[in-house]
Symmetry: C2
Subunit: 461 residues, 2 copies
């Protein structure tokens, strides 16, 4: 847990911009002036070194890392994404790697193990002393993606019958080892979690008060639960510590707020990437090779393009209509664009409401009611504008076609856009993936059918 005492110390640093620092270091390394590079690296605050490493190529990254003083190296290493950690491990000397691996917290160690080739991970784990091996094994026991895999097994706990004064003594004894001391889980004789107590309550109480009278019921996570769900709960409830329990409700670890933030950050990167129709990069943008960028995007692009092939087929059905009135084809991008925008607005709003817990799939009927009415109202407004403008610039009949199409399409698009994320959630898919790109494809095809049917009817084709 990062506390103020770990805050970056700045010393005599003048360079504060990571782009600038990376450029200067690259120049020094290119000129093989490693002495000057070492001086510069030493003067940088750790968080800036992290920024620099995240924008360097793999070779520079290893060189810069080797220049770091030992204490800083650990702080910096912990802050890197596991894929970058794994790359660094391969570039460093074995002794240095063993030392780093030993110094990591058990939860960070588990995260790195997931990235390393199996034979490297096994060798490193064997080099640990028994205590550290046991702590790491406790974390590695839980599946990847579970909160058990991300929790810290190093905590201080107390007992309901223990007094506030004795608890304070326990805290002082474990002060160097516990991940945090600001919230203290309370367990019974069977190590089952029975509550949680804040250090503030312990300090405020008379020393003789039993913890039983100070503790509160704890919000918990089960160790096999998804790390994202647990982290979300921790952030929603603004907890410093979320106790993690096993199936028998025994306390096995804690998730501190800083680890919860990190999990949520990764989850959000994934969500925004998916909502934008690509896979998450899992590493900083500038440290991502072009082939990885392409890989993260190409599958989605092809899937969406095959989906869009549907629009070609729809248009083929109406090819004769287009031949009769070519002017109709002029409005195709406008119509499908507006439909897509309306659908995406609704989808984005409902996806966010789902993420915040404001709605659940059980609210489908209420969402339907809201979106039909909102979509219809938007349709009336846009349809009226479309009718007026097209009527003035082209002719009234075409205006009528555009106006009616917008009215119908806005209603359909908002309704579909609002319900799609709920459907995704109900079938346990990621609402963010399922919504925008799919809505656009669906609305494009539907919009074209609606448009040409209305055109045929109004223009009597």
């Amino acid at each position: 847990m990062t506390e103020p005492e770990d805050a970056r110390s700045t010393g005599a640093v003048t360079v504060r911009d990571p782009a600038e620092a990376a450029r200067r270091l690259d120049a020094l390394i290119g000129a093989e002036n490693l002495h000057a590079a070492a001086d510069m690296v030493e003067a940088l605050p750790p968080s800036l070194v992290v920024d620099v490493l995240e924008r360097s190529g793999a070779r520079d990254r290893a060189v810069v890392f080797r220049l770091l003083p030992k204490g800083t190296a650990l702080v910096v290493f912990e802050a890197l994404d596991p894929p970058l950690q794994s790359e660094l491990i391969r570039e460093l000397h074995a002794d240095r790697v063993n030392q780093l691996f030993t110094d990591l917290d058990p939860d960070d160690r588990a995260g790195l193990v997931d990235e390393l080739p199996a034979h490297v991970a096994t060798r490193l784990l064997r080099e640990l002393d028994q205590d550290e091996q046991a702590l790491t094994a406790a974390v590695l026991d839980y599946p990847t993606g579970s909160v058990g895999r991300r929790m810290s097994p190093e905590f201080v706990s107390t007992h309901p019958d223990v007094t506030a004064g004795e608890t304070l003594e326990r805290v002082r004894r474990r002060i160097d080892h516990a991940e945090t001391i600001y919230a203290i889980p309370v367990t019974d004789d069977q190590r089952r979690l029975v509550g949680i107590v804040g250090l503030r309550a312990i300090m405020r109480a008379e020393p003789g008060t039993p913890v039983r009278d100070l503790m509160n019921e704890a919000i918990t996570a089960r160790a096999r639960e998804s790390a994202e769900a647990a982290a979300r709960r921790s952030a929603d409830e603004r907890l410093i510590v979320l106790p993690v329990v096993d199936d028998e409700h025994r306390l096995v670890g804690i998730l501190t707020f800083d680890d919860a933030l990190r999990i949520l950050e990764d989850a959000e990167t994934e969500d925004t990437a998916r909502a934008g129709g690509s896979e998450p990069l899992r590493r900083p943008y500038l440290a991502t090779p072009v082939r990885a960028l392409v890989r993260s995007r190409v599958v989605w692009l092809l899937v969406l393009a095959f989906g869009a092939a549907l629009t070609v087929q729809v248009l083929e059905v109406f090819e004769a209509t287009i031949e009769q009135v070519v002017a109709l084809s002029l409005f195709v991008p406008l119509i499908i664009g507006t439909g897509g925008n309306t659908g995406n607005q609704a989808a984005t709003t409902v996806t966010r409401a789902l993420a915040l817990g404001d709605v659940s799939p059980r609210d489908a009927l209420r969402v339907l009611g809201q979106e039909i009415r909102a979509g219809f109202t938007l349709g009336v407004i846009l349809g009226a504008v479309g009718l007026a403008v097209t009527g003035l610039v082209y002719d009234t009949d075409l205006g009528l076609v555009i106006g009616l199409t917008l009215l119908a399409l806005c209603t359909i698009a908002a309704t579909v856009g609002g319900l799609m994320p709920l459907l995704a959630q109900a079938v346990r898919a990621d609402p963010a993936v399922f919504s925008n790109p799919f809505i656009t494809t669906f609305v494009d095809a539907t919009g074209l059918v609606v448009y040409f049917l209305i055109a045929r009817a109004v223009l009597g084709l």
Copy 2:
């Protein structure tokens, strides 16, 4: 600051689903069975009551709130969004309102004042005792949207020459009033911030150690700085406390991690709404009337539709070409859709990288390099597929047109999509607003021009 001792106590609750609880309460209130409703409300944990209020209509909301026991009412009220707080205030009895307003923390009070009609706010502020008035005034002094407006002025601080033991005594004396005690700002004789020290470091040290030897340089926020930027820094550095200073570097307040999380949540709601082409709702989805939904969306829809009118004009230029080869019009949605997707992928990735601080506008050249190459590679892949499929299903010439267009368009779209968020950031616009909808419109128009120019050249029209 929410600590475990504030955690929800569950009692004998059986209903855990907010939709279900809201439905039952609505039924009880409809049947005017307020006694049973009160029993039910009393048994619900506060966080569930918040969920229920966020999905109720304005009238039910006031009824349910009035049923809450006094202690719970305050906790629940603090957790509501200011627009809902303001609505409740209008429905409650004056005495109750005065009491609530007095019990709020100064920062929450300031947030509410922004929402209330001026005459109500003035009256409520006048009813406060002098101390609370002074604390609230300190916060209200800073502009809306600044971190000064969201900070807590109630903190415990220490001095470099004070010892760890004396600091612990200060903490104990202020333990009931300070917003948090887990990180303690250090100020000099002029109240200027000179560092910060964790409670853990204080407890670990020999009692005689001066704070000077324990403290670290503090990461700070200036009070007039935007609340979002300050909250982002606090989360990035995983701080429990971010000290807030005035222009003379005097300590004026603290931003605790829970308030930072709340600010970031609101900011994210705003960003996702804008990225989806609508304005943020500022209240939970189910508590939002349809007219507010429409208002949040209609302006963007109209703006984007007028932007899309550009595509109509582009197509008009090529109307003769379409008349000659109507088949060309069949591929218009596919072409512009793929261009839009490619652009949005790049924009989403770079926007996220900006939000995480992985890139800055100064990295424009590197982003350009990445995106041109990624876009070109994607273009080669999609172009080859387009050439093959269209060549087989239609004819080779049309296949060549589609293939070449996809190649050119993917390159253009990825480049524009990648640079647009940087441009937005450079001119201090919100990258999220500026990117997706604008990119789609721009890419649509450009894509059509590219498509028809290539078609004319290849087909010899």
